[in-house]
Amino acid sequence: MRYQIGIFLLFSLCGAGAFAAPVAGTRASLALLETTDVHSNVLGYDYYKLAPDASFGLDRTATLIAQARKEFGNTLLLDNGDTIQGTALADYQALAAPLACDRTLAVYKAMNHLGFEGGGIGNHEFNYGLAYLSQVTGNRFDVAGVDPAKPRCAGPAFPQVLSNVLSLKSRQPLFAPYHIIDKQVSATGADGKPVQVAIKVGIIGFAPPTIMSWDKRWLDGKIYTEGVRESALKYIPEMKAKGADLIVAISHGGLDASPYSPAMENGNYHLAQVDGIDAMLIGHSHQVFPNAASTSPQFDLPGVDKEKGLVHGVPTVMANLWGKHLGVIGLHLTFDGKRWVVDKARTTVEARSAQTGEKSFVAADPALTALIADEHEATIRFVKTPLGETTFRMSTYFGDVGDVSALEVVNQAQTAYVATYIKTGMPELAGLPVLSAAAPFKSGIAGAGDFTDVRAGSLAMNNAADLYLYPNVLYTVKINGDQLKGWLEHAAGRFNTIDPARKGPQELINTSFPSYNFDSLTSKDVRYEIDLTRAPGQRIQKLRYRGKPVGAADLFLVATNNYRASGGGGFPALDGSRTVIASPATNREILIAYIKQVKTLKRATHASNRSWRFARVKTAGPIVFHTAPGMLALAREAGLKQVSLYKADDGLGRGFALYQVDLSK
């Protein structure tokens, strides 16, 4: 099936300069190339692990772009937003060392170098506020909160479009709603000879209207949004009137077949049904489309062809995230004397992966490494900047048997945060005891080196990431004494039931119960014992708060994370319904702030409050557990005299040693 695209010869001639007006029968191919959700991953580098990671990065997408440019005579490279936020590099340039007006953001420098020709704006572009966005995109937003006297700063060398986000002050879109690119292409004339012609490609951008709640603190009272359909209906006729031959929607969102609402987050299922859109570049959901194997519900909708990459017949691509894929929509066009006609049957839609094998990827473009070397090195220095220091080694090698060296500081930071939070904003919770639970996230699952291990010395952001691995936010639940006991009982499922009479070795750890669910308290006010001779659910003994047995009527606040408070790990009574504080701050940020405040962590004050111990029992045989070899001294330093080495090599071939714990001590 073919369809018609209006063309305005006069406009084409003006825009094309020296390029000839096409004659009927002229043919051209044009590939739209999409990146989306790059999230400032210019280089494949993990700034928290301080190590390269080949599985992502615009430096590898660059190779895909080069390949596509070789393959297709004409390409148009477009980005779909969520570009300037997402890595330590982004935070460094936005927060730690705010970008000077005459400097271009690293990710835009890279995009300029790669020859991007247009871009959209995603929701994360708003994460650092409007003034920053105005600056780094080279704009002068006419909006409250942005100084109108400020000069226009450096920005991307390509047009950025966003039609549905408007200033309350001016009632106009913050960015140009659309832009018409005079794309000069190599074509084949009716006589079969090469000819250069211009095609006007109109790009129009959309962001999820839900930015208003996600970045309320920056946006409330300053901007407003319109629905994607409404904006499309407003501007597409205007674009056509200005001579656009093709309309490309750059829409930062996914697909949602719910009834249309102007506030919906993923409006592209409905956007595709607006007349006149020739192709859609979508994103936000971090998915790959087209992808016949995808199980994502958004691609299993009526009118969506996830094999061919069509949404209500509109060629559509979503290129995953972090530069892992490049979206490619191949269009074949013929000029019929009045307009360019797309041969729909020959349109191709692909999301091309930078991954070539199980652990292999296309080569990275070294030019990008050189281009942003200064910013990259500065970010590494930023991540390594001391926050404070620790006078003791903080590790999880013996977390299962009571070493709190990597846990207590987390609990202390969380407790202090909640105490302040209540004092300043939730007086109704004042007076309730504040406890905190933490678990050893790293326990050797990936090998003997897979433990949290922060050496004595200065503490930097990457160490904080080792101490708090996951991107959770702090939640606090209000529970009673029975529920607290139930929580600890569930956590004690980490251990096998021990038979004291058995003479052979018994494994301490129930390997079907992961360490990240072994929550424990490190409060001087709480004491409890775990009786390993009892079945799961009956192990918590002598649970006391300030010396008194904890009763069913006692109430506690327990600081934890959103995962646990909302049902993660399947703990009894924790399903979100007892959450009383849902902080926007991440547990890691809270830990960092605490370390900055305390400055020096000492074992006596930050690693010696173990609330629990194993109930004493004499066993006929050894109780053994596996952890990294050569670490016994750490157990000693942690005061775990009941731990000793059983075998220097546990014999399982993974590099672990076998230790034993004497439950009678």
């Binding site: 959700d37 999230h39 599985s55 997402g86 929701n123 994360h124 994460n127 839900t210 996600w214 077949a257 719910s258 987050e265 959901s285 971090h286 199980t295 994502s296 519900p297 995230l321 972090w322 199980e358 699952i445 990936a446 996951y470 991107p471 959770n472 936010v473 079907s512 119960f513 992961p514 990240y516 959103n562 995962y563 909302s566 049902g567 993660g568 790990g569 399947g570 009574a573 399903d575 979100g576 319904s577 007892r578 991440t586």
Partner: protein, 132 residues
């Protein structure tokens, strides 16, 4: 057949999207005894209904209930199904549960570090703009 009926239940959520949160609230009330005596069996019924109507939080909670057999016959495979479904909807806690399970080989999942890594990336992103 079971999978087909579940998929059908998921499809129904498109038409009844507003009913999910209501059924989820009922499920939580029965599960936790909020304004009524706790009843795990009735809670599981409401949770299943809410999950079928597309409520991601209910999918996650129902997955947990199926895993432990709380108010419902224990069913590991169905538990994994609903966990996957909740993660597909980018519920951060479900993404984390699934990623952790794949990294640790928990909840009956085979170890899959590569997929876990992708899900952790998804989690980091989802945490920046939770939908639920």
């Amino acid at each position: 057949m079971k999978l087909a009926s579940l998929l059908l239940a998921l499809v129904c959520c498109i038409a009844h999207a507003d009913e999910g949160p209501h059924a989820y609230a009922r499920a939580l009330a029965h599960r936790n005894g909020i304004g009524m005596a706790p009843d795990a069996r009735i809670a599981a019924q409401w949770m299943a209904k809410a999950a079928g109507e597309g409520e991601a939080r209910a999918m996650f909670a129902y997955s947990n209930m199926l895993w432990t057999g709380e108010g419902v016959t224990r069913d590991e495979a169905l538990s994994r199904f609903w966990l996957e479904a909740a993660a597909e909807r980018e519920l951060p806690e479900a993404l984390q549960e699934l990623a952790l399970a794949l990294r640790h080989g928990a909840r009956g999942f085979a170890l899959d570090e590569a997929r876990a890594a992708v899900l952790f990336q998804e989690l980091a992103h989802a945490m920046r703009h939770p939908r639920h």
